[in-house]
């Protein structure tokens, strides 16, 4: 066993210093307030500022490997410093949902990669993911959006939900049914130009009060056949790889990093009071923080275990769902614990002078349900664990998907 990441050797201080100055010089000042989770700017001018920032980074040669067409990998220590400093900058350096990158890497054509990767890296192309549907939840096998072949094109009709960045997106990574058969076969992955006629993006205001997700409607939207990713009918495989990555990603978010949840809660409990004394002196508070901190550490270890299994080809269908449930429920409980620590102070939110950290905990609490519902609800994840992981009998389906009415 070995989980030691080699420390960054001497000789990289210059790289870090230069980078840091570059970021300081080019980082835009946004009107948009940033919050926890996958959040999206609510103003077009902020999006433009961000595009400029990303382009400046790219032009200066500050490029992350994952958006690179080059097969030669950059210096890994520089890459790590780049990730650290861009993360610490406090503004997004990836615009849109980058999930399509993995799909193009493994299933795209050279031409597709040459077209989209550099534009993505430059902040020129913002992508959105068009997977979830209102009636299918995260059951991708029952997608209803259809793409019908018409000559050299496909005509798309249907609706997607839970799409982040769609309101600013240039391209969409779309899954649609090209064969009218049930289940996984007959699903195809597409590159969709979001500016095509018939694409209607409706931003959704969420319970957080912010607008981070969209509904997207397609009314006879035309896509050139050349924009299929992989082969027609292969969309399930294409998406499977991407989704596994997303679930791992979701599972990994929030853990580690400079914001260890255990330490955050300790600091909050030191600042909060309970029955006239510091809350950190309360045995019940200590036990709850100890429990959440332990589970937060375990989240990291589950990730290390899964990464190891991936390398050894031992991933089971239960692994990604386990990581997703673990992260999203721990995240929710952590925010609930924080609100409880705040006590009545939790009543004052963003914009109020009494609000702790300008209401970050309340926003994080409200947003937490995005993680337990989106990307495959935790109920679906438990089905996957039981049925595909443990081999228990599948739930019977109803008579047929077409017998039920679409609803949202």
């Amino acid at each position: 066993m070995d989980v030691i990441v080699p420390p960054i050797p001497d000789g990289y201080d210059d790289y870090r210093t230069t980078l840091r100055s570059f970021i300081a010089a080019h980082k835009p000042v946004l009107t948009w307030k940033q919050r926890t989770g996958v959040r999206v700017p609510d103003r077009a001018d902020d999006v433009e500022l961000l595009r400029g920032y990303v382009r400046a980074l790219d032009e200066a040669g500050y490029r992350l490997d994952r958006f690179s067409v080059a097969t030669v990998r950059s210096d890994p220590y520089e890459q790590r410093i780049l990730e650290q400093e861009l993360g610490a900058a406090g503004v997004p350096h990836v615009l849109g949902n980058p999930l399509v990158a993995g799909a193009l890497k493994h299933f795209g054509t050279d031409e597709q990669r040459a077209t989209y990767f550099p534009a993505m890296a430059r902040g020129e192309h913002i992508w959105t993911q068009l997977f979830s549907e209102p009636d299918a939840g995260s059951d991708l096998t029952s997608l209803r959006t259809r793409a019908t072949r018409v000559g050299d094109e496909y005509a798309v009709v249907g609706q997607k939900v839970w799409s982040t960045w769609a309101q600013w997106a240039d391209f969409g990574y779309l899954l649609a049914r090209t064969e009218p058969v049930e289940g996984a076969g007959g699903i195809t992955a597409f590159i969709l130009d979001m500016h095509s006629p018939g694409v209607d993006v409706r931003p959704l205001r969420e319970m957080t009060g912010t607008t981070d997700f969209n509904e997207v409607f397609f009314d006879e939207v035309r896509i050139p056949a050349a924009n299929v990713i992989g082969a027609p009918g292969e969309g399930w495989r294409v998406a499977g790889a991407s989704l596994a990555e997303e679930r791992t990603g979701v599972g990994g978010a929030g853990g580690g990093g400079g914001n260890d949840p255990g330490q955050r809660l300790v600091r909050l409990a030191q600042r909060s009071r309970r029955r006239g004394r510091p809350a950190i002196d309360d045995g019940a508070v200590r036990q709850q923080i100890g429990d959440l901190a332990a589970r937060s550490r375990i989240q990291r270890h589950l990730g290390q275990r899964m990464a190891t299994k991936a390398v050894k080809g031992q991933i089971t269908p239960a692994d990604a769902p386990i990581a997703k449930i673990w992260f999203s429920e721990l995240n929710l409980e952590t925010t609930e614990a924080a609100l409880a620590l705040l006590g009545p102070r939790s009543m004052a939110v963003e914009g109020d002078e009494l609000a702790e950290e300008d209401g970050r905990w309340q926003d994080a609490f409200l947003y937490a349900r995005a993680w337990t519902i989106a990307g495959g609800s935790n109920e679906i994840m438990r089905n996957l664990i039981a049925e595909r992981g443990l081999g228990l009998p599948r739930e019977p389906r109803g008579p047929s998907p077409s017998a039920s009415q679409p609803q949202s």
Binding site: G137, R205, E206, G343, S346, M347, I373, E379, G398
Partner: protein, 384 residues
């Protein structure tokens, strides 16, 4: 004879209240009000008052009057119904202040404030403490004797519901000897100011209230000292618990209905056993909330021996269960429940605030353990 249900008159009160609210202050109306500059509608409040919303704890001769011999149980009926629409009005503070004045106020105070509260012409706010907790050490208003036999109040009370509309504030303050007194302070008064908070519960308004040399006459203090504060906390706990019961009830019903309709994987979601068991668990909690809230009202109103334990039990259980039900309702609704347009977040916000108002669950559990320790110390079993 054990009768743990509501009487006929109370059921009539419930039906009348529900009808009125459906017509004038439905959940949809509450939702509309949250975008308004103020959630309070003085006209509707007077109409509600005419239906007895603030009358139960006020004697008949002061313009009040209860439906039955158990005014607090009558109030529970109202609180449940108001809870069902997430009513934005100052129901809890008005009744807490009315109850406190009726019990610990002078004749003059009663004559002055109760008729106006009963008619709905005036509303009241309750300034409990500086951090919203009922802990005595949390009181941040100091009362210093003024030359004329009156008092001068300085300090701050926070998380005060509906302070901006109130004509009268009930203010908990510490005097220089450390004794606690509740004062009735008319609003507006010189030196008194209220700032409305950006709040988590968007259906109600809470304020930070500042006292800068506010003078009150001696005649404006309630008797009872800490007992009066404890009584107010108990009243607030019972009424808020009942409100939470009503809110949880309507949300639970809506969730069950939704899951009976909504189809996924070609089946109604409510046909999935894992979902069914979770709904069963929610009903379990809802029934427990109801049992706890009802008994607390009965015990506090009738001054039963175990009134303190009963109130602590409601405080320990009800609002945490309400918040749990909201969380499950949201999860079971899926994506639609996550949107601003869906009502589930309004319930969630209400629940999160009820959890921490007037003593959170932890505070009431601690209180219950203290009562148990007392009982153990004096060897009181529940035998016999």
């Amino acid at each position: 004879a054990v009768d743990f249900g509501f009487g006929e008159d109370q059921e009539l009160l419930r039906a009348a209240t529900r009808r009125f609210l459906a017509e004038h202050q439905s959940l949809a109306d509450t939702r509309r009000s949250i975008e308004a500059p103020d959630v309070f509608d003085a006209d509707l409040w007077r109409q509600g008052a005419a239906l007895g919303w603030t009358a139960m704890l006020i004697p008949t001769e002061r313009g009040g009057g209860s439906i039955t011999e158990q005014p607090l149980v009558d109030l529970v009926v109202l609180a449940e119904e108001l809870g069902r629409t997430l009513h934005p009005g100052p129901f809890v503070p008005c009744n807490v202040v009315a109850g406190a004045v009726a019990r610990f106020g002078t004749e003059a105070q009663a004559a002055e404030s109760l008729p106006r509260l009963a008619s709905g012409e005036a509303t009241a706010a309750w300034c409990l403490s500086g951090d919203g907790s009922p802990e005595p050490s949390s009181v941040e208003v100091r009362a210093v004797p003024a030359g004329d036999g009156g008092w001068r109040l300085d300090g701050v009370a926070r998380y005060v519901q509906a302070a901006e509309n109130a004509s009268v504030l009930l203010v908990v303050a510490n005097d220089p000897d450390g004794a606690v007194t509740s004062f009735l302070v008319p609003s507006p008064s010189p030196g008194l100011s209220a700032r409305t908070l950006s709040g988590l519960d968007v259906t109600r308004r809470f304020a930070e209230v500042r006292f800068e040399g506010v003078t009150v006459q001696s005649a404006h203090s309630l008797s009872g000292g800490q007992d009066a504060v404890d009584y107010c906390v108990a009243l607030a706990t019972v009424l808020q618990s009942a409100e939470s019961v009503g809110a949880a009830d309507v949300l639970f019903e809506a969730t069950v209905d939704y899951l009976k309709q909504r189809v996924q994987f070609g089946r109604t979601i409510g046909s999935f056993q894992a979902i069914k068991h979770r709904l069963a668990n929610l009903l379990l909690r809802l029934e427990a909330m109801r049992a706890a809230a009802h008994y607390a009202a009965l015990a506090l109103g009738d001054d039963l021996d175990d009134a303190a334990e009963a109130v602590a039990t409601a405080g320990a259980y009800v609002d945490d269960a309400f918040a749990f039900i909201c969380g499950e309702a949201l999860q079971l609704h899926g994506g639609i429940g996550f949107t601003w347009e869906h009502d589930v977040h309004l319930f969630t916000r209400r629940a999160k605030v009820n959890q921490v108002l007037y003593g959170d669950g932890a505070w009431h559990r601690e209180r219950l353990v203290q009562l148990l320790e007392d009982a153990v110390a004096i060897g009181t079993g529940t035998e016999g």
